[in-house]
Amino acid sequence: MIRAVIFDRAGTLVRERPGEEVLREILHPMGYERPPEAYKKAETASRRRWREKYQGLPRGHRWSREVRRDCLQAALEVLALPGDQEELLARLDEQWDALRVHGLYGGVLPCLGALAASRIPMGVLAQTLRSSLEVRAELERLGVGRYFGAILSVEDTEWDKPDPKLFRAVADRLERPVSEVLFVGDDLAKDIVGARSAGMFAVLVDRHGATTAAGVTSVTTLAQIPALLNTLG
């Protein structure tokens, strides 16, 4: 019998934009135009700087304001735009995190509404560099924070998905045994393997029907979750 549902964040609840799109979205209104491959290269440089300089920092410090600014600086160096570099960096820094999130996927609101109406406790397990509090603030901004009794970011732990300890930690916060929890995620190797290793039921969100895992239950939209829950008992 399923008595609680835990969701993955990005790719499941929240639609994230690729970094190159975000760069363009910020810079284009400022009058800068570059070909798509230039933004892609800039985004790659930004990621590379993070990997090389900051990946090894203690958790909780890996995406501070200073880190973000330095990584965005790497992107600007590749783009080599004319103008006041400090102002460009300030603009990117100011808007980056907010524009990275493109909203909720279709099907999320009906799913959360139906589960809440059935008094099913819900949680979120996020693989992100931001803290659990920041994830909660983001979900509040998106208008769905109230649905979640527990929100955990891996950045506040010592583990990464698919470590089963993460999945058990969220179930504990919802005060439900793992055998009564359904996990919903879009990543076969991290979400489904992790949840099943922890002893949960797991459903893969496969919006494009590209599933290549015959042994996994999948849905194409979160709107299918409430009905699926009935079939799981």
Binding site: T211, A213, A214
Partner: protein, 394 residues
Amino acid sequence: MELTREEEAVLRGEGGPRKQECMKILVTLGEMYGARKLLPIYSVQLSGISYKTMGSAGTEFLEEMAQEVKFAVPTTINPAGYDVGGPGLVRTSDDFRSKQDRIVKALMTMGAVPTFTCTPYTTDFAPPKGAHLAWAESSAVIYANSVLGAYSNREGAPSALASAVLGKTPDHGLHRQEGRRAQVVVDVDVSKGPIRYTVLGAYLGKLLGRKIPYFRGVRPDLDGLKELGSSMSAWGAVPMMHVEGVTPEAHLQDVRGLERIQVDAGVVGEFQRCLGCDENPQLVAIGCPHCTKGELIQIAKAVKQKGRKLKPGTELWVCSNRQVIQETASAVEVLRQAGAKVIQDTCMVVAPLSDQFPVAAVNSAKASFYMNKKAFSGQKIVFDTTENLIEKYL
């Protein structure tokens, strides 16, 4: 890019419009990835030559190419959509056969070598260490880079074809030492139980994407490396791997400070359970990638030990290439006597089988990836070890 005078002339169209088109493809790619020059190559491996993958537009394009150009270097080819040079063990429609035959004819006209295999490294066309290649078959690319010490990017169909015509490839990515460096350390803990390389590869392919891993804690043999690499390249886009104490460039890697992933039998076992369903297959298919001599002999041994024939209602396919089949004649005979079909020139992935065999059992995570994919075959997959498949269905 700095082109030679000869290359410049081809780019201007002096070698004809087809060669010019090919040069434009290579130069565009080279400039996109920061190559400074074109490199001469030892060989090309073309993938996607089954009509199932190529379709009519691709076939017509190939036929037009064949009227004007020849391949400049040895060009081996992937499996076709049916056993084109075999005894006709694979049932397909006449229409499909005639379309497949047009593709084969065009390729032969241009000078392709009729290997019809995804494992060209098990044939006389295996490249030497240090050879530059333009191979498109992902499982062969990772094997060539990691095990043979050859150099190849994962080419797409158009770039591999262009390279075959010109005998060149842009000098970037895996052709350069900096493009071959390990990017993540994978520590495999086998203390909690055995780990199947095909499943480990699939799991890591999902996690790694394009990153080059450096493995510690495992020592796969050549067939194990083939399994590990082919799954990683199908489920991800991993072009090369280093295995400590095993692969030829592992000792050159500095892995200090790299991202680290730990894997054990628990997560890999859970991933394996994701791969298959529990239904009755009409087809049991082994040999993705095509069986090596060692694998074929092992399967024959297991079948011989079992001492029984195939259960009615199920077909057993063992897929390999012409050369391996010829060189393992007695093992092949054992399999045939047991009722198995030893299939050459095609395989369970690229032959159009979903109508005949809606449920198939496989031992390969690479096969599972493609056969289960809705847009490709959409078959239901039973996933198990070779030994268990033989135990259950013989």
